[in-house]
Symmetry: C2
Subunit: 538 residues, 2 copies
């Protein structure tokens, strides 16, 4: 209805991919990988990056501090329980940020207070108030201090309102309403948020944080927005605990596509960066995005049935409510011959959402030229795979020198491997069910005397990067150390990329071994309550 243009930024996008997202089992990232994701979040132009949970581990602390130090133009948040030690670590990690945002939380539902924390409602309020005050004192009058009432949607509403009132009085400028267990239905969640918005008025921003256990996280987020919430906590690809969080791309594109339903509500997000960010997070975490995922699935913009194809050919508006270009999806394939050198490649990479120069650009250029010798067509997908492999590089103490393998129908495979470990040659032979089994066993045999443990394979997959029998294969391998068992064991992922799937498999395995070895040397942190999978080798 409003004819005037709406100012961007009336809705604050709080991205928690690096905190709640990274808590998903198997999604742990190294500090370098977290920093790479943070760079993409800056390019996306989110308002707040929740970088981690500094008290969880020294690795998490370091990653948060690096992001706080190295990113600009965005607020950096860190999570802390309302418990002595946590907020201090969080403040220490984010103090260097351009705009630090302390995020303290405590459970408020009776089931959590009674069965987990063993404290009374009054004690919970006292703790909340204490640590909000602490944050305000430490970070000064201009900092954003956020308080979350964990399990808010299962908390007695009258008590919940008392909690929010107390923390706002104590200096909280953002109050967050998490649907921790993914339990809310949009109509009831909107009504709850409305009561909180009415309570705090202009004294604080109301924030929401929705989990997707019943598939309703995006809808609950939008219902809360319509009810007056102005900070939305979301993640790329909906990554997060269990069924994950509300997904950034769905929330942002719903606002953009249906402006009449959300009058005067606009984010600052550069939607054209969505596809690149989605791909990077999927790659680094090893979490596939399903083909039918909204906005970022490979089929999200595909029209299959004859009727739909017919309509789209006649007029795209018949079946398209947003364009693929608006989320940065380019459909181009390219022939490497037409790149006209490094400059052409640089332009192409920029189109794909990546800015490279100098040595990094030279490396990708050399790899692309070499690839053009091995396969007929070098496509966007091939370039993205090269970029991704680069993003997950780790310092290598174990390096591959050579290998060979033979395998046949019905028989055992036989393989040999030559490695260097800190420059010293190691080689071994082994047999196995197939070539990968044989070569992994040979690697194990070559390394066991040096390491004192062997890598244990948890998960393995290979995907072709493009069509064609000559395509590159992208391997994803997850491993732990044989000496590290149980639910708290450190599990790392390793990626490999080659037109030979055996080479890609070995490369991924050795990346995982190098990460495990780095973690062993530098010391691995465990979580504070019970062991958590943490992967911070540096």
């Amino acid at each position: 209805m409003s004819g005037a243009a709406v100012a961007p930024g009336s809705v604050r996008i709080f991205d928690t991919t690096l905190r709640d997202g990274e808590q998903a089992p198997g999604a742990a990232l190294t500090a370098a990988e977290k920093l790479e994701v943070a760079r993409h979040l800056v390019r996306l132009n989110v308002d707040v990056i929740e970088a981690g949970f500094p008290a969880a581990s020294p690795g998490d602390f370091e990653a948060v501090q690096r992001i706080a130090r190295e990113t600009r133009g965005v607020a950096v948040a860190a999570l802390a329980r309302c418990r002595d030690g946590d907020p201090q670590r969080a403040v220490e990690a984010i103090r260097v940020a351009e705009r630090p945002q302390l995020h303290v939380f405590i459970s408020t539902s009776d089931i959590h207070l009674e069965h987990q924390l063993h404290i009374t409602r009054e004690q919970a309020i006292a703790e909340a108030v204490k640590w909000v005050r602490y944050g305000r004192e430490q970070l000064g009058p201009d900092a954003e201090i956020e308080f979350s009432a964990m399990d808010a949607t299962r908390t007695d509403t009258d008590y919940l309102l008392k909690v929010y009132e107390a923390v706002v009085d104590a200096g909280a400028t953002t109050v967050n309403v998490p649907d921790t267990v993914g339990y809310a239905i949009p109509s009831e969640f909107g009504a709850l948020v409305k009561r909180i918005v009415d309570l705090v008025g202009s004294a604080a921003t109301v924030s929401i944080h929705c989990h997707n256990d019943l598939g309703l996280a995006t809808a609950n987020t939008l219902a809360a927005l319509q009810a007056g919430a102005r900070q939305l906590e979301v993640t790329i690809n909906g990554l997060g605990e269990r069924a994950g969080n509300a997904s950034l791309e769905e929330v942002v594109m719903a606002l953009r596509t249906r402006p009449t339903q959300f009058p005067d509500l606009v984010t600052r997000v550069q939607t054209e960066q969505i596809t690149a960010a989605s791909r990077l997070v999927s790659y680094l975490t090893g979490f596939a995005v399903q083909p039918n995922k909204a906005i970022v699935g490979s089929n999200a913009f595909a029209h299959e049935s004859g009727i739909h194809q017919d309509g789209v050919l006649k007029n795209p508006l018949t079946y398209e409510i947003m364009t693929p270009q608006s989320v940065g999806l380019t459909g181009n394939t390219l022939s490497i011959g037409k790149l006209s050198g490094r400059r052409g490649l640089q332009g192409k990479l920029r189109e794909l959402g990546h800015q490279l120069e100098g040595e990094a650009l030279d490396t990708i250029y050399r790899q692309a030229i070499a690839l053009a010798d091995a396969k007929k067509d070098v496509t966007d997908a091939d370039l993205l795979a090269l970029l991704e492999q680069r993003a997950s590089a780790v310092p290598a103490s174990v390096e591959l020198v050579g290998w060979s393998v033979t395998s046949s129908h019905g028989g055992k495979a036989t393989g040999s491997v030559s490695l260097t470990v800190n420059g010293v040659d190691r080689s071994a032979e082994a047999t196995g069910n197939g070539p990968v089994d044989a070569l992994y066993s040979a690697v194990d045999a070559a390394l066991q005397p040096v390491l004192g443990w062997r890598p244990v394979l948890i998960d393995y997959e290979i995907k072709a990067v493009s069509a064609g029998e000559d395509a590159q294969g992208q391997a994803l391998v997850r491993c732990r150390r044989s000496s590290d068992e149980g639910p708290g064991a450190l599990v790392v992922s390793g990626h490999g990329l080659s037109t030979n799937i055996i080479e890609a498999s070995l490369e991924g395995y050795l990346v995982a071994v190098n990460k495990l070895r780095g973690a062993e040397i530098n010391g691995v942190s465990v979580a504070f309550v019970s062991p958590r999978v943490v992967e911070e080798p540096s």
Copy 2:
């Protein structure tokens, strides 16, 4: 609030996995595969199976008719445009069903009428009325006749109400409101559905069909239910065009988990069958379910962060709003030694949602015993992989006799393959970037003289079925014929399973070749408006 027990079935679950779901690019199934999915839908106890679109192709017609003939205890629906030819084919296909449900549709939005159909609003009503009457005459007074106003959410509301009024007068007993482009927001969609419910009263059931382009399909479905809709069109895993449809598992579990929000609204669905159905559909279509997919993702019931683990150990209710058992998720691993023979295996398979006896049971038993020789632990995942491989079996005119391959670092791989084609020996050698490239090229060389075309690889992936270097690898291969290009080309998928990934890769490739060959011999249908990927070799 109501103390009395609620009768099951007050909400009709209309599953369209085999119609809208199968329209997803790359998800096409053979008639045998569609029948296998239909059997699982019967076990799930859905109310209606929409089996296909009989006018789309002879293959689709045959699949719908087989499902209509062979399933009992469920209504079988078929889709038809309001256009001469379509409804006749649909009626012919479903007439043999225990409870046939004809589903006719026509677009009603101005954008579709003007830009795609080139007809007036009045003409659209006349067509709708004509074909609803036809269905009623053909199928008699007791049959369910359903009418859909395609693109209803972008249709002028006053006109939309006129359309529904006219078709109910003509004999439609279900009126469906599709959000064809995935455009609706729950609050507005609920309001629209309420107007339609008020209009038709008890004369017809109001149905809804929501697409997920903005991530809101489940929420829109539930909002419509709260507004009075009583038939919900959903798919397993949310499969479907573009970002897919509302997912059955999310809608059903939301109702079950939050009964106070949906008083007196209960489905008949056996939720314990959800996991088995989800796995089967994912496997047969080759569409991965992402780890953070609600209800059926591999992480949906995983608790990772220390805080959550701590809570769940103290009391599961702290973070679990539904149990893994309620959706049929068993966490067991088993050792094959403890199966105590075929009977033990049969019980185990039943737990996993599969009922086998006789020869089928013997085959799986022999395979499980053989597998126990090749790998240390045979787990539930291994048994499920064997069952799935069985579900996708096709008649084979090309069979694998033997193969061998050698590959090494930096060099070309060399492989040889021996096949029989209709019992005649064929063999060839080839080199390639890696072992799979070499062996696929050898297969191509062996087959080219017989087939006159070669298989073109569109997609390839391998996943380990379980942890461990000795795990089984599950290969998924998609191919077309070199003689069949463009957007309408027939693309088929082939699965392979072996502890040797090269063997699994070859097996998957040959399954795809056999499907392509079967399609060539039996004739492949193309869609009616513009070419569609159709995969009905039988």
